[in-house]
Every structure is written in structure tokens, then in C-alpha cells.
Amino acid sequence: MKRSLGKTARSFRQTIPLLLGVLLLVSLVLVAVPASLYARVFTGNTILDPLIGAVVGSIAAGNPITSYIIGGELIAQGVSILAVAAFIVAWVTVGVIQLPAEGEMLGRRFALIRFCICFLSAVAVAVLTSFTLVLI
């Protein structure tokens, strides 16, 4: 038991610099990027907007509820559901900010490949969701 506790504490201690770094970066993005900025990056283009949504969602940080609120506001401002879906899926699944931490703890190649696949699938999930909603 003592050995397990020591091993866990050691492993956890090693991750503290990374967790603090990610947390400091998330705090900076939350304060430096106002929610009103998100609406300005969308163009109204059906093909381009889902990609923009996925890029912005990948860079953004914070509680997923924030992405729902911003997404709701974006729809009210005329941004397509396709773009908003890509935005909220990328918000929770991609994460540029935590990429260095993920690379350190799970392997750089793993983190990079997962990052790329999750980015592409954020767009795919958004397209499929919008398509299915039209069919229903």
C-alpha cells in the first residue's frame, strides 16, 4: 500500500508542472479572447464556416457550457448549425492548448495523430449531424 501511494504521488508530482502550465494557458485564453470575437470570424460560406468553426473550437478553451452559450449566440446571429456543431465538437475533443501536456504524458506521436483525427472528425460529425437533422 505504501509503495503504491509513493508511486502514485511520484507520478502525480511529475505531471504538476504540465497541469499548471495548461491551467495558466487556459486562464490566459479565457481572459484575452472575448466571446464576442467568435462571431466575427465566420464568413457565411457553407463550406468554409464548418472549417472555421473547427479551427476556432480547437483553439478555444474553457467549460463546454461556454461553447453551448457561444454556439447559441452564433446561431442567433445567423451562423449555420453546421459551423456551430463543428465549433462545439472541436471545443471538447481537440484542444490545441493541452496538446503539449498530452504529448508529454501520452507520447507526442499519439497526441499529434489524435489531434489531427479529432479535428477532421469534428467536421465530419458536424456534417453528418446537420445532414441527419435535414432528413428527420
Partner: protein, 168 residues
């Protein structure tokens, strides 16, 4: 004296510290607001960190690497996928607090594809579903969550295959 080699973890923190130092020189009010946000976030993640620490301790204490390999390693089948997806859906807090536990489980033999599935399935947030339904409607929420679950498995398979191909 042995010179201390800086690890990637410490370099990352140093880069962020340098960013904060630059922010202090540029806009002290923004720095103070950022630090307040940081303290607020830290307070929120501490309970999740304690939960992850407890889970890591329990896993190390009671779970044998052989058992992990059998249930969540290669050949774990649909049970492995089920555990990974359900674990992802039920997990709470920010994604990065789960990295240490996932790293430990990986060393014990958990498949990469299941780690990917766990991380992706975290996009399904049951406690936050009412909020999503309020903004986007229940049909959108149900369809989106369904696709996320499907893609957590698809992504797991894809990432594992790409990782294998990049090694070969």
C-alpha cells in the same frame, strides 16, 4: 554537481511563465484578471484531481497489469470499447487531469484505441445535456451525441492504425 537537464514538462511551464512575465510588462490589469481566473479554475479542478489521484492509487494497488491487458488490451473486444466509451461519458472535469491516469493505464497494457475512445467520448456530457437541449433542441443533442459515440470508436481504430503504420 550534476547539471540538471530540463525536461519537456518544465520547459513548457517556463514558456508559460515567460508569457506571463511579458503580460505583466504589457498589461498588469489583464495579468491580475488572468491570475484571478487561474485561481478560480484551480479551485474547480482540485476535487477532480483528488479523484484522479485516488483512482491512480487504486489502480496501482489492486489492478494487475495482466488483468488490464486481458480486459482492455489487444483482443479485449466489445467489452473494452464499452468500458472506454462509458468511462469517457461518465468522466468529469477537464481532459488534462485524466492524462496521468491514462498514461499509467497505458503502461499497464491498455490499447491506444481505447484511450482515444475514452478521450473522444468525453464530448458527451450528460450533466450538461439540458443546457445543450435548451440552446439547440433535443433532436440536435441526441443526434450529435450518437455520432460522437460512433466516432469515438472510429477514431480509436484510426489512431491505432496510424500509430502502427508510422512505427512500421
Amino acid at each position: 554537481m550534476i547539471p540538471m537537464k530540463p525536461s519537456g514538462r518544465n520547459i513548457f511551464l517556463l514558456v508559460i511563465a515567460a508569457l506571463y512575465a511579458a503580460l505583466a510588462a504589457y498589461d498588469i490589469a489583464l495579468l491580475m484578471e488572468t491570475l484571478r481566473t487561474f485561481v478560480n479554475l484551480l479551485g474547480k479542478i482540485v476535487p477532480v484531481l483528488l479523484l484522479v489521484f485516488a483512482m491512480m492509487f487504486i489502480v496501482d494497488l489492486v489492478v494487475e497489469p495482466g488483468a488490464v491487458k486481458k480486459r482492455l488490451g489487444k483482443g479485449s473486444g466489445s467489452m473494452g470499447w464499452g468500458v472506454a466509451v462509458l468511462g469517457g461519458v461518465l468522466s468529469t472535469g477537464p481532459i488534462y487531469v485524466w492524462y496521468p491516469l491514462l498514461g499509467d493505464l497505458r503502461k499497464k497494457g491498455v490499447r491506444d484505441s481505447l484511450i482515444v475512445a475514452f478521450l473522444y467520448a468525453r464530448a458527451v456530457k450528460i450533466p450538461m445535456a439540458p443546457m445543450m437541449i435548451y440552446y439547440f433542441g433535443w433532436t440536435f443533442t441526441a443526434v450529435l451525441y450518437l455520432y460522437i459515440i460512433v466516432f469515438s470508436v472510429v477514431n480509436g481504430i484510426l489512431v491505432e492504425r496510424l500509430l502502427r503504420d508510422s512505427v512500421e
